[in-house]
Amino acid sequence: MRGEIGLLALVSLYADSVVPTAATIPLLSFLVSHVLPGDAPKHLNGVDEPARKFAVVIDDFQKATITHASGIPGRTLWDLFLKKLWEINSLDALHVFFDALSLLLVKTREERQKDAENGVVQASDKVLLSWTSPLGAFVKRAQLKFTRLQFHDRITLWKAFVTYREPTLGMWKRRNPAAGKTSFDTNLQDDNLPMMGRLIDVVYGDLTDGERQEADVSTDDVERILEFQLNEMQKMGTRLSEDMKSQFKNMIQAGVTVPSLNHYVKFLDSWRAGDYPSSFDNLHRYFDYTMHNRDRTFYQYALLNLAILQADFGCVTEALDAVHETISTARENKDMECLNFSLSWLYHFGKAHPRDISQAQKTGVLGGEKEALVILKAKAKDAGMWSLLSTSLLSEAKLALTNGDSVTLAFETITKSSHLNVTYNIINVIGSQMMMQASVFARLGVTSLAWSYGEIFLQCYADQSPVEDVLNCICKSAYSLSQRGRYDEAIARMDEIDRDTLRILKHHQYWTVYSGLLKLQRQLHKDHLVAAEHLLDQLRGSSSNPEINFTLALLEIDLLTRRGDYSTAMGMLEKLSTRLNDEAADIYQRVKVMTLKARLLDKAGIPQKGFSVALRAASLAHKARLLPALWEAVGAVSRVLISLDEFEASAKLLASIMPQVLECEECDLTAHFFAYLADAHMGMAGQAKAGTPKRKEQMAKALEYLGQSFDEFSKLEDVKGQCEMLAKKATIMRFNGDMLLANDCAAQYLDIKRAAKENA
């Protein structure tokens, strides 16, 4: 607050109209940059100030004023400013200073009437500040704050001000030779008694002791910093950085009264750090101190925080109880904001933990999902909570996608959400909106678009969005890279992530699991089954994210298939499929499982058995416009056709979808499709008479496709696939009588095998 005294002095200087016209604008912009809360222009002089100072230092004043001449000849503004400051020469003068502030303001109607009655005439050369102007509000607020101070707090302020002003003594002396060591308090100047020292000791003892740092930050400053920090932490979901933490520690040690907000910051920090007991402790401490702040009860917020916390640490049932209590309390207290937020949270929680929520309670407050979304949207609109409305719309889009409803609906809601984001500048929802858009395109098989959406997000919005979204996006794109066989790039992308993000336990876990998944996939392709199993064991059960769990299950099945343990794989698949059906999971996952079943049956040598399942998958995927899944299902159908010797139909089918498959940019899918094509053409070659050009043509096609499939598998470093293709190639070549080439292939085959073994 003592910095504020300086600002106030400057304001009164301005009001005294001694500021010449030339200096008015710099002066005012200096004032405004400190007076306005929060979003003062960051780049005031075009220079990037990394850490905007919360407290104004006396040097700042000097810099701002010393270059300007004043209305009084021979004096700079700085001189006048010093005069103002040094005129506050006792505790009483400080009181007078604050009392006089009201003279800076435009008078109220009553006051004016009174003045008119008493015949007081307004001085015309004064600039009067309006009550509603930023400066006027600042002055009024400062005055009010001072009035509310207890007497000893005023003394503390006064002493802080004395230290604050002290560095300017030298400059003040230059203009006022009379000023001396004790001139900071007029009461000490009156008489030069020999005993003066003792008196000063008693009154200003703590100042002369050299313990100056004590008053460096005021409670107000700390509160503002904490608020800012909290805002950051909540908006971005980050933790306190290490150096910030140590700074806070210093401030608190300096002995200012620390607002209870501190506990909340600590709570967030320890929560993010995964320190359950201390986050719990701090949360309770904070709400014990602030349960009844500003005539509002914060009970519902306490409960909401508790619910989130518990959910985060896996105490699902407790979290549910807490959130239900939150909802009812918020209803009771008519706190719409909290109510809407908790409902939305409950909805998302239900999405994330479908099993737990169905166990814990079937008849939710929200009813079915669709009804829930309708309620949420209506409420958000009523309360004007645009970001909630925007996220609700995104949830609607997501729901439409998972249920396999029309894609246009999804597009519509996404566009609505995007419109809201732009209109109300809701930056932190943009991330999820773009991710949603990317996933729509991915489902439509337009991988390149999906990819570029992710890139746009990372390029443009990463630093303004919650780190969780950023992390998600990075992981997704790394996954996508690895599917294209660009493993190293994928790993590099994973490493791009900010170290600070990973200081949050949850994010770190997510990141680790994802990296693990990528590695596991690579090991599987490399046919390092032991390593893969090892990884799998580590990853299993380490995440509650349904998506990750699903991917993990698929990889496990893949492992089993590669081992040739088809029956176990089938059993797992069946289990997975029933679970997904129970949970009404994403239609994409269900289709995927069905296709996989068909493929597994194919691998097991009984492809016909998978015909109906493959067809069903294809029709489901078609209905839901899940194009990659559709192609996969079609692939499975073509396998069935091949097994039924319907080579031509199969080839036709495959050839017709091949362009789209290539568009998906999934190496595994493409490789398999080329292999299928090769098989189909081989079959057709078999159907043709030996020696006919048709057979030759087909054989050549088959060879070509085998080569392409081999290339794709090589991209993936998939040993088994590569070997299979080489073997097939060698066989065809030998059949063609090309022994040399066949030998080459065989040699290549052996090389790859050996290399794989050596690496293993």
Binding site: S90, L91, D92, A93, H95, D99, F151, H152, I155, W158, D185, T186, N187, D191, L193, M195, M196, R198, L199, D201, V202, V203, G205
Partner: protein, 659 residues
Amino acid sequence: MAALSRQDANQLRATLQDAVVKCSERCLYQSAKWAAELATSLPSTGDLTPDSDTDPDSPMENVEQFPPPVPIVVTSNSDPEEARLESQEINKYLLAKSYFDCREYDRCAAVFLPSNIPRGPLSTTSPNNKTATTTNNAKGKSRETGRGAPGASILPKNTLPRLSQKALFLALYAKYMSGEKRKDEESEMVLGPADGGMTTNRELVGISRAIEGWLTDKMNKKMQETSQGWLEYLYGIVLAKGKNEEDAKRWLINSIRRCPFNWGAWLELSELVGSVEELQSTMTELPQNIMAYIYHLYASQELYQSTEQIHQRLTDLERIFPESQFLKTQRALLFYHSKDFDEAESIFSNLLHADPHRIDALDHYSNILYVMSARPKLAFLAQLATATDKFRPETCCVVGNYYSLKSEHEKAVMCFRRALTLDRNFLSAWTLMGHEYVEMKNTHAAIESYRRAVDVNRKDYRAWYGLGQTYEVLEMHLYALFYYQRAASLRPYDPKMWQAVGSCYDKVGRPVQSIKAYKRALLAGTYYDSGSSFGSGATNAEPPHSILDPETLYQIALMHEKLDDREEAASYMEMTLAQEEGPGGDDDDDDDDEARGPGTGVTNTTSKARMWLARWEFSKGRLEKAMELANELCQDGVEVEEAKALIRDLRARMEKEKA
């Protein structure tokens, strides 16, 4: 009284040191502090130490140099019986003392006295009360007295176990303190429903009976002389609390005779003395020693006697105790009472520099600064006091005064309330809080505050005056009159009091008394100016040798007018006018024109008087004179319109007469 010889000084110091130890042994902290301060304020003997080296035989010097090893814990007792008892119970005593120091009063008392002393209001129904034989108990009607002086039993038995007097005193004193503490707790909030003198110290009965029994026992055994005075002191306090003042005084004097260096006893005694006459009469009963001398000074100061004589006494004392802050404070207060604020302020300021940690009497200093409107100084003082101790009633009063000067009355009241929460008997705070409530137009609370102030100390004229003022605001003049009279009797030489009395008499329709009161005011006004008591003959029209307050004169004139004594009224109006030029301009004595200051000049009051006179002359038909006065009025620019109207009338009359 000249400065003491070295020998005497040393002896005095030793006595005082002994008193300090004895008082702290009995947990009389304030008395101990007082005595210790006084002992250190004796001129230093540091330069005399070489002497003592050469004269090792002198026992006094030895004391100076080699303090006895154990005196802090136990002083030796000259009475062998007491000494024996004390040495027997030394263990228990130390335990009790530490309990007392930790403010565990009940526990302390229980060390020596298993709880067999009756408590509470039993005594009102006690059969002993009816068979009272002690005649001293004259005022036995009130409940308080019934409780406070139940010592009226026929044969109060000594129910106390056989203990040394020191142990006995400590135990009973602890009981008393615990009772006081409980009383404060029961009173709850300041000015709250339970706070209003209804709560009493329930231990008083028991203590009083116990001591009574002990004293009778001593008397029966013809061993009064072995008593050391401490128990008498406690008995005096208890009796005073029970409003049994005569007895209390008797026992306090008794205590003082045996143990003169217990300042607490003197303080209690001074509170019981209500007037100068009473003081004089008690002085005769007291031993003639230095303490009595200090006491007389202090009591006179409390009674607002700031005469030359008292100043002289103070000067004498300061020769003995040149460094005494207590005496300096007394001097400052004397100046304050005689409204010499500058002098008082400079003394306090010096005191502050000498010992910045001293908070005692700073509330008076702040009052002085308040009257002088020295805001920066007052703020500084508040800062200083707060730096030393935020929670002393004196500090709260200083801060409250500062707020009051800034017209932040709510905050001031808060401060005073805090002071009272800290110490309910803190007189200044009650009075000052009353002032604040008057400012806030809360007359009810103001009256209650003033009343409490008066209850604490009957000699506080400001509270009496405040009460009067408040009642005057409420238009209850007869009531107000009573309080103003009390104030005036406390400050017979303060014109403000008498003016107030006079105006009250006027309001209740008794102009004769009103005139008398106003004349007293005139007299009192001159008293301070000339510095000596002036003849009582202010009734004649002879103007005193100084400016008179024109307002008072004008009021007297108006009173005479009310009595239809218009001639007299006119003469007083003339006197009012005369004050404009000061006494020098008067016809009586032109000789010392320069010596007197100038007059008051034209004021509202004199103008009113002039107007009155003009009308009067007009009615008398002395038109010339009336014309002259009216013209003067026009020149002065006060009440011009009326004056002009009068002039017009006068002209008309003159024309008519001419015609």
